[in-house]
Symmetry: D2
Subunit: 348 residues, 4 copies
């Protein structure tokens, strides 16, 4: 009876629905009573799967949103007089309505980057006022993998950042809202790119890759997560009917569904890139390493395109747009859009 908007597009991987396997898993656990708040067998199974992936010592907690995973993860590693260093384009900087500052009390230090990626040099440039009481004290380095610009840190880049971070007594947080896309891009396993290179706290994303709701926080250093259950509840992120988040993760992690979904989205982005690369007036502005394509296009054609395929303008001044692919993007979406883009450009 409800008729969802039929128009498809490239606005966000959040505009997609839920992968059928995940929805089936949710339906399947809707039987009888289980203890609320996570003390149930569905959740126990999900915890086991996470520990198989991230190690026996990993502390794992489910929350509702990626913003919550980031914010509560940062809160667990900081005191209010600390600072968090991250790229200026980070989700924690520009898309969380100040939740990190509000909840942790910390200052977020925004570092300009051309591609959404921090480097050791850029971090080092922010290590000021150490031990000086008038200054906030850098305590967390937060990176996003894959970045908000669709780029992906190499394992070596990650290791360098982790080493620098630890040498300076700091903690490395990874916003993995699109971690699956990055793992596929690097062709590595999830641990290799996180705990394996020295990440301390991971926001592990599910929603942008086919889940309905629910993200995980993984502490590789268990001590950091020791009190996290209180922080989660106080952070208004403890699900009463937890089994329905856990069931989603069980399906997500089974038979490599996470990987298949991400591989598909990445492939669609590469195809989109190829399909538009030679269109006159279109300039792809970032390396296409995950499921996003950034491009400058003539501003005049944007409204027409958006009538048929919704997407967001990233930087109005530069007429730069972002096209996101998701697990359910189809070849025909790509073809239709590229063809419309090509003809729009020509009509200009």
């Amino acid at each position: 009876m409800v008729k969802p908007d039929k128009s498809r597009g490239f606005a966000s991987d959040n505009n997609a629905g839920v992968h059928p396997h995940i929805l089936e898993a949710m339906v399947a656990v809707n039987k009888g009573h289980v203890i609320a708040y996570g003390d149930d067998p569905v959740t126990a199974m999900a915890m086991n799967r996470f520990r198989e992936i991230f190690g026996e010592d990993a502390g794992v907690f489910f929350v509702f949103t990626g913003t919550a995973a980031n914010v509560l993860g940062l809160a667990s590693a900081t005191q209010p007089f600390h600072a968090v260093i991250s790229p200026a384009t980070a989700h924690i900087q520009v898309d969380e309505c100040g939740a990190p500052e509000k909840f942790t009390g910390c200052k977020l230090i925004a570092v300009d980057t051309p591609d959404g990626k921090l480097t050791v040099e850029k971090i080092a440039g922010q290590m000021q006022g150490i031990g000086f009481e008038h200054h906030v004290q850098p305590r967390v380095v937060s990176i996003t993998q894959a970045t908000e610009m669709g780029t992906v840190y190499s394992l070596e880049e990650l290791r360098d950042i982790a080493d620098y971070t630890h040498e300076h007594g700091m903690v490395l947080h990874m916003d993995g809202a699109r971690i699956s896309n990055a793992a596929v891009s690097l062709d590595c396993c999830l641990y290799e790119m996180t705990g394996g290179v020295g990440v301390d706290i991971l926001s592990f994303g599910g929603t942008k890759n086919g889940m309905m709701y629910g993200e995980a926080i993984v502490f590789f250093n268990k001590t950091l997560g020791e009190d996290f259950k209180y922080r989660r509840k106080q952070g208004m992120q403890l699900a009463s009917k937890m089994r329905f988040i856990s069931a989603q993760f069980n399906a997500f992690l089974q038979d490599d569904l996470w990987k298949k979904n991400a591989a598909h989205a990445n492939l669609m982005a590469r195809k989109l890139h190829m399909a538009v690369a030679d269109i006159p007036g279109v300039e792809v502005t970032q390396r296409v390493e995950s499921n996003a394509v950034f491009a400058r296009i003539p501003p005049g054609i944007i409204p027409r395109l958006q009538e048929h395929y919704f997407f967001y303008v990233w930087d109005e001044e530069r007429s730069e747009v972002r096209w996101m692919c998701s697990f359910d993007t189809t070849e025909s979406d790509i073809e239709g859009f590229a063809s419309l883009l090509r003809s729009s450009g020509e009509q200009q």
Copy 2:
């Protein structure tokens, strides 16, 4: 493949699953792309239903949990130097791990009550230090309907509290985690018991009455909710795939499903009450007006009962327990439990 714990019980209405109609509605909206974060037709329909119930001027927002509904509702009406007056048994006082204090900065003033219900007299007793800068300033009265003790405020009691609250320049918040049970108990419509008597901010519960996740905040005074969208996002409560909360509410509010579920749970509680009332050693301690039964029972029999039917000890010292009924409690649950209780008592 996942096998939920088969043991049923009276621990919490959160231990139940999801009503089939609601789950079907969620499955039904899993089609194609819609704009994320609530700008979609499923959510538009839900908003309309809420406005039909609570009035055209109501400001309505969905969040994930009841704790979030309470905390963000309080935040929208307070400055950090304000105080919130509520019964000592309120969920905001004892079950939210300090989230209200952390998020609003306010002091919560706990008022002892025999039955979980504030009265004008009890509120008046807390109106101290008004205008005196050393004191927090009372700003919100928060009541729970039905209360955490299973009791229900009458419409007259609510009106008295609302009038006093407004006469003193304060705001009335209602924690309606079990609002459906209260409406059934009073045999009134949802508006009558909320906006109709003068409630300003309502936490409207769904999860404890058959939904999977999702609660609503209703502002009867629109100005209070003016900036709420920012507060919700900053409070880490904005669902990206909002349609799946909205679909739940659409089903919940259709064909009086909310009322049927609550009526059933209340009926089961009354039956449980009747079934145990005459068992020697069992003393029901609160009026059974919604879906909870509180009783003192011999401490020695508790472990044996809990082996078969899980429930919580409310007050260890008094050996007082709480039995919650839910939309899926069956007559056979009641009979089985009452019979076990009777025989356990006799064996003592």
Copy 3:
């Protein structure tokens, strides 16, 4: 040219001015340049004096107000999901406009007491929900010495509370706004009553005992104060011209000035007690163990008394008033007031 109100009274030890020796010390250090924010010889000397009194390992920090000493002291020992247990009459509960909640995020648990003093039994009654994520976790026990009711904990009472607190993994905070009065009352040295019995964090008061402004926070467990310099600055409590606080403490701690001032105030309170004890209609309600006298007096005479000697009504309902003596209260203040009280009572 400015003419301070000549009327003297018993309103507060804050209504008194500054002891001449202290003012002289402030004037004396007003010479030349010194490094701001505490890296100066006057402050170094004050630090030494504090360490002589409280031990070489004590961490000592100066702040502006007693509220700040309390709040920042609590902040240094807590996470936002912790709880602080204190008497309902504590300054942190009723006289700091919610600053502890706002700044620490913690819930403050108020315990009713007849005399402003916690006991092990009363603390034990609040040790609920330990390890349960829905509950705040008790982390600090905060006591006031001398209490807000003018009573004084014995060394044994303090030791019992400290032992219980530590056995339960908690931290003991002492609000010592009137610590000098308590030390005189117990005839013990400052360390004996604080670090000596197991206090972990001490708010050491100066302003109510003859200083102009400035209080100290003493950490007996140095680890707790490790990062305190950042917390103080972020708490807006770092004085730029620190030498003027330090000079006050140097004078305060020299030649037992703190003790002389407190002994005088205590003596005046005892004399006041004796002078009013037999007046009909006057009932002293608390033991007079420091510099406060609490009494119930006929409500009708209060306005007339207040015309000549300002003081505060503590509890309107009970017609209970508080009379504070200070380092500059005179025998003639006592005599004048007692005589007015006697005659007022007779005229009634």
Copy 4:
């Protein structure tokens, strides 16, 4: 007996002591009892003086520090989802250990400037995401007058910023830690440069210009300051013995002492500028418009200079130093330092 460090220098106007007239005024009010917390005649007189200067409608409050004036001023105009736009060099950005974020919950947006001064264009560049719930909402523009770089906004520049700020529904905050120096520099009265051009909230500084402690917050829009007394107390900034702050302001504002002190400091800075301008290897980097001189000097000579005259390196990489003059800087300080600088440069 205490021997303040005899070495003078150019480190900070906070390293100076207290102007004798101000100290005398403090001594003069140390008589008898007055009501604590500001309800006293000394404070009433100070309030009158402020209102004479800033208008009958101004709301005026005293606090202890400039950081507190800034932070509590910002808090009174913001909700936690708001943003504050200021230059990257602002005290609130780099010298308050994150107090603004901690206390307000807001994000601070740092804008790069060559001279510490915002412009309408630079503010406009930050007006992003307006009405978009994922973004913090710009609410306050905060400027410093004189700036942290020693420069001074002209009245026209201020008016332009104020107009833009108000047109966009925002509030203009001025950090006036060195407002006296700016007023002297512009040769205008205090109101002309603040309320007169449209400043809404002013942090009015005293300590850097000859006071011992104490700053004022002035609300030109009274509504903004309506509840400020609670915010001040909760912000741990309510002085009990308020008369001693008020006495300082009375002296500061009498017979133009504030102006004389500032004029002297500004003159000394100009003299220092002239004395060093032609020294080889010395490059003055900012316009000398108040009491600061910024210069790049050869890094090799810095340690030797600091042995005799303490000052801070502002930017190590650029070998840029800051020399502050204060109300008690002498011509001989200038001559001695300039001569040492000249000879140090030559010896290199």
